[in-house]
């Protein structure tokens, strides 16, 4: 609550959405993204972090034709249009999965585990998917 602030007559809180699950195998990544999009309408201080298998949500070249599911990866590119611009990826999660920043479909800030932990500490609300 220390980070809570009053701006333009409303409460502004720091919200972090922490994505830890791979897409398609379960619905959490997709339904998590739906929460992120809605949150944009509330003028909060929103950030997204990708940790563990959550970094797989951002891989380039997803093609869901064969599994007949909706490919929602282009939506991450649209987040900028919702003024959601703080995207963090934890370095160790990315590297241990054989990925580099070039493999990701959006620009992100790569953070160490300790840096991400410090960012989490600053939040008012953390919702993990």
């Amino acid at each position: 609550m220390s980070e809570m602030d009053m701006e333009e007559g409303g409460t502004v809180k720091k919200f972090m959405f922490l994505n830890r699950k791979a897409p398609y195998g379960t619905v959490y990544a997709l339904e998590g993204l739906e929460v992120v999009l809605i949150s944009a309408a509330f003028d909060q201080d929103v950030s997204l972090a990708f940790l563990d298998d959550g970094v797989f949500q951002l891989t380039k070249g997803q093609n869901t034709k064969g599994v007949e599911m909706k490919n929602f990866s282009p939506t991450y590119r649209a987040l900028e249009g919702y003024d959601i611009e703080k995207l963090y990826v934890e370095r160790e999660s990315m590297e241990s999965r054989g990925l580099s920043e070039d493999d990701l479909l959006v620009d992100v800030q790569v953070k160490s585990a300790a840096e991400l932990g410090a960012l989490m500490n600053e939040q008012d609300v953390v919702i993990s998917f």
Partner: protein, 130 residues
């Protein structure tokens, strides 16, 4: 203090709904306020009035429904998650042309914005899931 609670898994399959219920009861017993309980993902399945659990087990749905009515809790089922999984109130059923509805008293169906608002208005948001 003001709490919001998020429940992400359905009854019986995961313990998440049980833990959330016990947490809610304990918070109320300590004099805290519960601003909202928000049911998302498979958590929407906690709101069906059609369950018939074994006699020797707890009734997860009825427990929530009774707590909501006794304590005037605001219990919200996410509409998008509910539509994916087949949870409907009378209103939604008629709007969608469905011939039945299955929501138990004590829950209401609304949008995802209610979750974000629950995070803004409460002092703490506690998430229970898989």
């Amino acid at each position: 203090m003001k709490f919001s609670i998020m429940v992400n898994e359905g009854p019986y399959t995961h313990q998440a709904s049980d833990s959330a219920y016990q947490f809610a009861k304990a918070a109320l017993a300590k004099g805290h306020e519960i601003y909202r309980v928000f049911f998302y993902h498979d958590g929407v399945n906690n709101a069906t009035r059609l369950t018939v659990p074994p006699q020797d087990d707890r009734n997860v749905v009825n427990r929530w429904s009774e707590l909501a009515q006794q304590q005037k809790l605001d219990m919200v089922v996410c509409i998008a998650a509910a539509q994916r999984r087949g949870l409907l109130d009378e209103n939604e059923a008629s709007r969608q042309g469905k011939d039945a509805n299955n929501i138990v008293p004590g829950f209401r169906i609304s949008g995802l914005g209610q979750l974000v608002e629950a995070g803004i208005q409460a002092d703490r948001l506690v998430v229970f899931g898989d």
